[in-house]
Amino acid sequence: MSSIRIEHVWKRYGAVEAVRDLSLACPDGLLLALLGPSGCGKTSTLKMVAGIEDVSGGEIYFDERPVSGLEAPARNVAMVFEDYALYPHLTVAQNIAFPLEIRGRPREEIRRATDGALALLGLEPLRDAGVRHLSGGAQQRVGIGRALVRRPAVLLFDEPLSHLDGIQKSGLRAEIKRLQKETGVTSVLVTHDQIEAMAMADRVAVMDEGVLQQVGSPDDLYDRPTNLFVAQFIGEPPMNLLPGRLERRGEGLVLHAASGELALPAPATAGLIGRGHSDVVVGVRSEHLRLAASTTSGSGLAGAVFFREPRGDCDVVLVEVAAPGGARLAVEVEPASPWRAGDRVRVGVAAVALHVFDSTSGARI
């Protein structure tokens, strides 16, 4: 097992800069997720760590050893693929044993390692089954067993859950995380799905257009997104964003948005008062907005319920703000609350965490 350190790495394909000056580390034994939309550079980064692609600049270290000059086989990395890439004519046990067979390891070692992997993944009942007719989730467990069996220094997951349906996906998601914790193999996960990254990773690196936007724990990303891109990418429904001008009023601040005036409670804005920020974007998560019945004199943004989405434990109400250019705001409500499509409401902000961004640079203020 090794730590991974990526230092000032670039990847160029002709004139296209797929990865730009990336510096990032994954400590020994942790799982690092590379998260972003397609084309953000996450897969190119994974391929450079694996040794499938060369770096165009910079260096990658496993522990203190530079590896950019090493071919893929010399790096001792194993990969789990999106489409499983199993050998269809082999059984579950034969697929798992395969990497050891081709290396000509002794019989006894192969048997012990394969049995260990089968047990770890709960695949013993399927050991002699052909892989072709297994469910997607079971096939991917075989793929993971095959990657783990030769005790790699680094394990790489390339969108391992994309082909699974909802329940298989959440089941395998938890299972991969548990396996990673149990075996302690340093791992890198590539995904475009923020829920997968948050659920599985110790550290999440958010990328966009080849550039690292933020790296941190799942809670860091949710609580303190460093810019508008991360703010919108993490969380479901996406964070509500209100562009406008900030002005001091009494103890707190008021946001003058296109859709009206919104009072921002004092504790959440304490650090902003007196710093003279005018053009900003205020971000509020759906659980931090509150709905009240509309009255002519009430405070908050006036609007109407556009759509109410039942989600079981809570519901999400989409409010269409009345003013011209008015945004649609997602507000989390209790299932028992009365709001229906068409109701006239006012939206206010609860006295909790707000996110304020510079409207030009997008950076967190």
């Binding site: 349906d165 548990r178 149990e182 829920i195 799942p218 993490i234 989405e309 079981g312 434990d313």
Partner: protein
Amino acid sequence: MLALQGVERRWGDTLALAAVDLAVGPGEILGITGPSGAGKSTLCRIVAGVQPPSRGEVYLDGAPVTAVPPERRRVAIMFESYALYPHLSVFDNVAFPLRASGAPRLGREAIGERVRELLRFVELAHLEQRRPAALSGGQRQRVALSRALVQESRTYVLDEPLSHLDAKLRHTLRGAIRRRLAGGPTPTLWTSPDALEVLAVADRVAVLVAGRVRQVGTPAEIYRRPAHVDVARLVGDPPLNLLEGTLEAGAGGLRFRHRAFSLPLPRALAARVGAGGPRDRVLLGLRPAELRPGSGVVSGAAGRVWVWEPLGRYGILSVRLGEDLVRLKVERGMRFETGEPVTVDLDAAEPLLFDGVEGGAL
């Protein structure tokens, strides 16, 4: 008004749909969810008339239409496979049903207006001259959706209308389509393997498993009172926990006994299942959001943390209880390490019970 009566479909010995009875009123959206292979698409194709049922009857506005060919039914179907015309532009694909023989005659301008309104609605107005081959999967899906919604039909059949769209667009379009259809004159069928999607958009939801309708109800009924374990396994985020155990009569009434804990049944539930007395095989359903980490006053179960998944707003804590895995939906601000001991507090749980053999709710 759309109605299905005793609709059945066999493929040789395989029963793809078993005696389906459903009714959808004007302006109502009936969601259909179930795992892949449950029969959702077969049902859609039978309503549209592109596939005959083996038995049973489809009614539109009270009249049987099973013998009416698809082009004369005036059912607008959006196929899961999109079925776009590759040689036609986006505009002409959407206009196609308006120009078809048998459609109400519309002038060139009226057609243009209708088509463009739909393309704006699905955010594709800028691509009206493109051919399908030059579109992404999600864009093709929106063309197919427009082509269904552009028609004035007697029923809309939307087979997985949003499955290939990104999360943000899917979220916006759900609300927009619902607003467009709800309260209008036309019934709608809307299928998705994602139960959360149909529970979000539909007035009522039918849960289809292996060709059988396991439950039809409002989203709240499906969430709160799943009629069968098959339904319980599909709904909720994460889905209901299901634990096998026995029912025993004790001093305080009926108790559910699991290898790792014992839970007194609330009075109303005990009264409902009490007539049957003790049972040696039942499934207890526990909602993830009603379980807490920490020892309960009335009842708790000791286990170990299997895995902790922080998701921002909340986290999912999976706990190993004996042979079972129980999931808790935990408010944020907590942290757990794999392997550490933890107690699951059951005090706030409103348990559900299912027959351990047949799977029906007790």
